[in-house]
Amino acid sequence: MAFDQPATVPPDEARELAAEIAHDPTAHDVALIDANVAATFGEYMRAWARRIRAGDSGVLPVIGGLIVIVIIFQVDQSRFLSAGNLTNLLEQAGPFVMLGMAEVFVLLLGEIDLSIGYSGAVGAAVMVILAAPPINLGWGLAVPAGLATTTGIGFVQGQLVTRLRLPSFVVTLAGLLFWEGFLIWVINNQSPNNGGSIRITNTVIVNIVNGTLSPALGWVAMAVCVVIFGVLTVLGDRRRRARGLVAQPPALTAIKVVAMAAAGIVLVAICNTDRGIAGIPLKGVPWVVPIVLAFVVAWSFMLGRTRFGRYIYAIGGNSEAARRAGINVPRIRVLAFTLTGLTAAAGMIIYASRLGSMSSDVDGGQIVLYAVAAAVIGGTSLLGGRGKMVHALLGGLVIATIYNGMGLIGLNADIQYMITALVLLAAVTVDALSRRGATSG
């Protein structure tokens, strides 16, 4: 009966099943095939095309949008696609991507964190103060202290949202104001005569963004990453097939690995081109790139392959169902807010490293809106349950590209804000329209 099923379907039952499928007209509906498990390449492509037509377009719109934006800027400013500017763009994107990923944790729950611009800045300020004279702590202590500060802030705000059942919008809006005030207070208090700014003297912290891997190390690191990705993908497919499950077609695996290798080669080649000014050579991948990518990989793994990640999606989809399944919902929610804090701290430390200082007039309000925009442009839903870390990566790149390109063209801030707003609106509209197309059939 139901419980003594042998591992494989007996031939009789398989025939029955086939007959039933043959008689059931809806069983031929290819749209039901999950593109992740189609057996052949043709089947995969057909299922993929169906899914796009059905409104599940994945990351295609954002990649397409990114290409369009790049072409527009390149036509206007031939400098845009220069090695120097592209590397600069990657450095600019670092904080947007990190803070976007921070938002993904809470957006998946259907919550939001408006405070991370300033709470992250407070963490970065703590790091800067500890590493600067007169304290002069090493980076090995100052950076963790900065990370811990904002992680703690995230934990406290998460507790307020979860235990007192306050709306996260209001709690973190209060956090936005409070931590802005706290940032001004702590920097003015610590460094009263510097105009509200503390310079970073620790070279390791400065080098998070401004230091580079040697060109050779860049190539080696990229090659190692591609090989590991390829081996893990092939092994995973093989394991599924060995146990009688459908795995993605080999051609697709090959395409994925080749695409990743191509992207890696382009990235390292651009960064390894000499972008020095005035005869001082400067080349190599900035450290911020592997650091951000490591966060993307680690957080994606956490969301996709661990219980914690699964529970975040479950709570975002149906928190009552999650609770009844025995999931400790308050604990997961607090943990999500805590990780938001940790990621935001890392993002603002990168931000401070890029500027070489921490100032009390950081516009944390604008940064957090860019962070939410990055996640949403990438395809993460504001309603919870839908989204990935890679969305923040792509969305952060879009934001940084617009920011960078408009700066290059020489547009004023007024125009920049309005254009950024329109891009965000367009992204959300495309998402909503395609989903409406899906429901209306």
Binding site: A2, Y313, A314
Partner: protein, 304 residues
């Protein structure tokens, strides 16, 4: 004892690969899946005494007496239909058994031992699974993820998707759910009957000693209702006790071995299905009495 057991069994984020045993257990007979500690303490051969006995269970919400002195015995391998009008206390009763609410008075006896079911987790640890009318599925997760929600197989903290997919597939085909094309499609894209089947698969996969189903056929068409009733028969044929809450008397008579009828929080009728006919059930549901029988007349059936 139950509390200790629960703590050891499944902490959502525990990195201990506790679910390994589940993977094995899901393939074997239902009795093997009972928590080991309980099975050792109180071996109870099938047919020898009730699996679950409620003795004088009461529950009130403020001044409202939702349950008063309810007695009920549930036997392995039998389908018990729980009938009653709206507000009769059916939901309160099953939520009390499922650990969502605590009784204010009376005893819950499981396998001959008095137990206190504080949380749904406690109930799950005992082997009680409840399929609510809203099914409690996450539409954004796929079938495998829903079936395993809260009990993921994760050796060394990493989800073992392959094993979960294989086992979920077996369970679903065992429940004759063949119309689902991909087990990796989001539950939000399934039909009502398929969703019910996923919810039932979720229940029987892990805690197959007592399955409580709240209005399982309320939202279904004729063919899908027949499928779900067949599902219920399969469960009881496997030695699982089933409680079905239903308004639909056709379904009740089609599938139940015993019928228990609540009226305003009191058990007004309780006995083998053969003791009842539609008219008697309707009268008991609506008035709490049948002919000249007193409101407590049903309790005599319990003693049989």
């Amino acid at each position: 004892m139950i509390d200790g057991l629960v703590l050891g069994q499944m902490t959502p984020d525990s990195t201990v690969p506790s679910s390994d045993s589940n993977a094995q257990g899901a393939r074997s007979a239902s009795a093997d899946r009972a928590p080991a500690a309980l099975a050792a303490d109180a071996p109870s051969p099938p047919g020898n005494g009730p699996l679950l006995a409620l003795r004088g269970v009461s529950k009130h919400f403020g001044p409202v007496q939702a349950l008063s002195g309810v007695n009920l015995e549930i036997v392995p391998g039998e389908v018990t239909a729980l009938a009653g009008d709206n507000g009769a206390g059916k939901s309160v009763l099953i939520k009390t058994i499922s650990g969502i609410w605590q009784p204010d008075g009376g005893q819950i006896v499981w396998d001959g031992q008095t137990v206190h079911i504080h949380t749904p987790k406690d109930a799950a640890a005992l082997g009680i699974a409840t399929v609510y009318q809203d099914l409690a599925l996450c539409d954004n997760l796929d079938i495998v993820q829903n079936v395993y929600l809260g009990r993921e197989i994760a050796p060394r903290g990493v989800l073992d998707e392959t094993t979960m997919e294989l086992t979920a597939k077996e369970t679903l085909s065992g429940l004759s759910v063949t119309s689902v094309r991909s087990i990796r499609q989001p539950v939000g894209s399934l039909s009502g009957g398929q969703r019910q089947a996923v919810a039932v698969a979720r229940a029987v996969m892990f805690t197959a000693r007592l399955v409580i189903m709240d209005e399982p056929t309320a939202a279904l068409g004729v063919a899908q209702t027949a499928m779900v009733l067949d599902l219920i028969r399969r469960l009881s044929a496997n030695g699982i006790a089933v409680i079905v809450v239903s308004h639909n008397l056709n379904d009740v008579f089609a599938v139940a071995d015993r019928i228990a009828i609540l009226h305003l929080g009191t058990m007004v009728g309780n006995g083998p299905t053969s003791d009842f006919d539609t008219q008697r059930v309707v009268e008991l549901m609506t008035t709490g009495a049948y002919g000249g029988a007193s409101g407590n007349g049903g309790s005599s059936a319990l003693e049989n």
